[in-house]
Subunit: 186 residues, 6 copies
């Protein structure tokens, strides 16, 4: 115990199934104090002809993409300043909130603002977490920042955490916290 | 679709079952693009006599406590400076990392350090999220800080996010990020 | 084979469960050529705390009443001319269609019309069938009619069939066919 | 809720599965007041090697044919007077009961009898219902009749209902009610 | 893996359930090379109102008794020469086959025959096994015999094995093999 | 009732599935007094991607071989004195216990010992039973022996029973009981 069975329409790739199995396993670990090797998850696939709701047969829909991959892809694009590639990952209503700035909606705006804060910044990731919460996929990435201040002085090991929301596979919100001000003004 | 069935030993209170149902539902929403009203979760209870593993009958174990409640309880105790009550919620190896400080392990240490940062601080919570990740329960609480600087000046609306880890119902780690330095030094 | 499992919220009386088991068994017999003793139905009850949809716990609703009982009750009340008792079983929009008459909506109208057809009529039921179709419960009752013509002559063994629709436990439609004209005019 | 799972031997065509899903859904609607979109049906297919009864592996049997199709096919053949095609759909012991006639067993007998009733008759179908009841598949078709009396006068809009029983895919019984006498003698 | 679910009518005592869980676990171990702690068995109880076969509700029947207990009880009664108690455990058609004797049907016959073989004999049980095979419960008990020959000489450590068949909780067959002759004639 | 479902990783051949279905059926017959035709077993296969334990996907392992076949193969090889073929079926720690002999571990030892007992012996099998017990597969074969004594005299109809244990598909133990001494010394 416990044993979890999920009944889904067929068509999900092994990768999506792996994420579903992990998410269901973590859901159990959240409440039930069972050792890992006792938590079993079984997925049942159903061909469309084997499933009906409301007396109607239904069509399978593709799995939601891995939000962690999308976020890491976005952060890599931003770090390389590949704006078009980053922009393609954003959804309608996207808004970013950075420490010490009013919420921003455009990447150009962010880049201009960032120029006043540092020459460049690189992220070293410690860990990331992804789950569903209240209608959106949520991704947290945290780690440390390294880079150069406007005056050329280097900095490193500055703590950061980003929180992303994704809907329908697109990033709709980014909230950033970091210790840049602590260190800059130390 | 999808439908999730979880088979658990009996004895979980309705509150624990509610958390399990929510967690399993969120696990599905994480991968499957189904509308909420299509995600069904069914829990099957088993009396100890109805379940065996390795040919042996097993005993049910109590559910893990709600980590969100424990964290909010801890933060309330700290805000009220009820140190004993807060301490009782901490587990072995507890370590706190605050912006601009080296990691701390004792609450007395934290309180002394905080004295130099502000006269007092109150948290206004915007949202909290809880889930299992890699062997621990993780809780994020975020919102804004209000309070008074050492010189008596008031501050408010300062963004913060805390990340907690809990194991066996005890808090073992707290990481804090906030914009205090941004605002203080603005 | 086949085996049918139905997962329902708890609270249904044994009588409702019996009807559900029969209906599910007949559903299988309709498509699968298995001998009766091979068709198994198992009902799983769920306490409200063991079931969630869309992450929310749901409340059980009482079973729909047995439409066959309601119809036979209505026909008995009409035969005894207990109009109030019959009326209480009717739903909004109730309409009756009898052979040789325009559709009627009121029981008084029906009784007046019937006076011109026969002194009295008694139904002998051969069989009744009940099932769900297109949003309503449907009941067929058939058998023979016996009674007296307006001139006092007796008649018997006249074939009839009635079709009823019920929604929410109330009768909303009655269609009648019979051989009264064949026999009367023979 | 509710959720129905049916375990069947593999080999049923999508069309048979669709009928099974609909029948199971209607079985639930008959007793449980759930909205349509809450009634889920899942079919589990079993290869012969995955199923045993009494310790023996069993062979799948083909699904029963759609009785509604057979009945409409029969009625179309009769309307077109394609007697051989109609006869092929009849089973042993077939008996027909029409208003104003003794039960008949041969199609030739019916055709001869009908000659005295009308020159021809065409059916306009309002609806049909099919389900299993007491060992047979039952089909009801109802609507109106149009045609010409023996004297050539036309008639139309005359109410009719037919009840068919099928066993093993063959029609074994037909009971007919209609208002021909009401109208003819009006 | 593997996971076994058994659906049974309610009413079985914990002891019967334990035997069922063990038997199902052993059934899996017979074919699947899974470690013991990976074999899970879950029993689902059904109240009579929650189960139907052939559209009929069925009544639960009591579990079959533990044949191992019955056999050991019988052997103890025979050792103590409590003939009535032993006889009560026998079923119709009971037949015993001992080494060096024609099949016997009555306990008196056995006791008389045994007198010629030894003064008394006591069984030391090494192990017993019980399972179902071909319509009967089968129990094997094996170990060693100790006792006295007719001439008063003692013997011990003589290998034996008994095979019993039980139907409906009564012993219907006993086959005995032992090395008494090997030792006696050595 | 009852109904047994076994969830296994895919890859088992029909023959292994047949043995699993029989073993599960016998497990039920051991405790539940249901008629054979009421005991249904359904196997659910899972592709590796549809199953996870402890959040990890697992690999299927091949089924254990049919121990009855291995034992009968071994006995046939021994009867034909094909020692290499017989030896290949033995596992580490194999030990044989025959009536009137100390336990033996080598086939050569057995053959030499047997020479003193009879010129040759042939087995006629009455029945065999196989099941899992306490970590090993157990096989019983019983029947009668026929052959020739060292002096050339023939014997036949002598009762025997053999008990084998197998682990990992290899024979690790053989215990033999028979009436050779009874008959030889009669």
């Amino acid at each position: 115990m416990p044993i979890v069975e999920a009944h889904v329409l067929e068509g999900y790739a092994p990768d999506a199934k792996r994420r579903l199995v992990r998410a269901l396993t973590d859901a159990v670990r959240f409440v039930v104090p069972a050792p890992d090797e006792a938590i079993t998850v079984m997925l049942h696939d159903y061909a469309a002809e084997n499933y009906g709701r409301g007396g109607q047969m239904r069509q399978p829909a593709p799995a939601l993409p891995d939000p962690e991959k999308i976020v890491l892809d976005y952060l890599a694009a931003m770090e390389a300043r590949e704006i078009d590639r980053a922009q393609a990952l954003l959804g309608e209503g996207f808004v970013m909130t950075f420490p010490g700035a009013e919420p921003m909606t455009s990447l150009a705006e962010l880049i201009a603002w960032a120029k006043g804060r540092y020459r460049f910044v690189k992220k070293t990731y410690e860990a990331s977490e992804a789950f569903h919460s209240n209608g959106a996929a949520v991704v947290y990435t945290r780690g440390t920042l390294a880079g150069e201040w406007p005056d050329g002085t280097a900095f490193e090991g500055i703590r950061f955490i980003d929180r992303f929301e994704l809907t329908g596979g697109k990033i709709t919100r980014q909230d950033v916290w970091n210790d840049l001000a602590e260190v800059r003004n130390a």
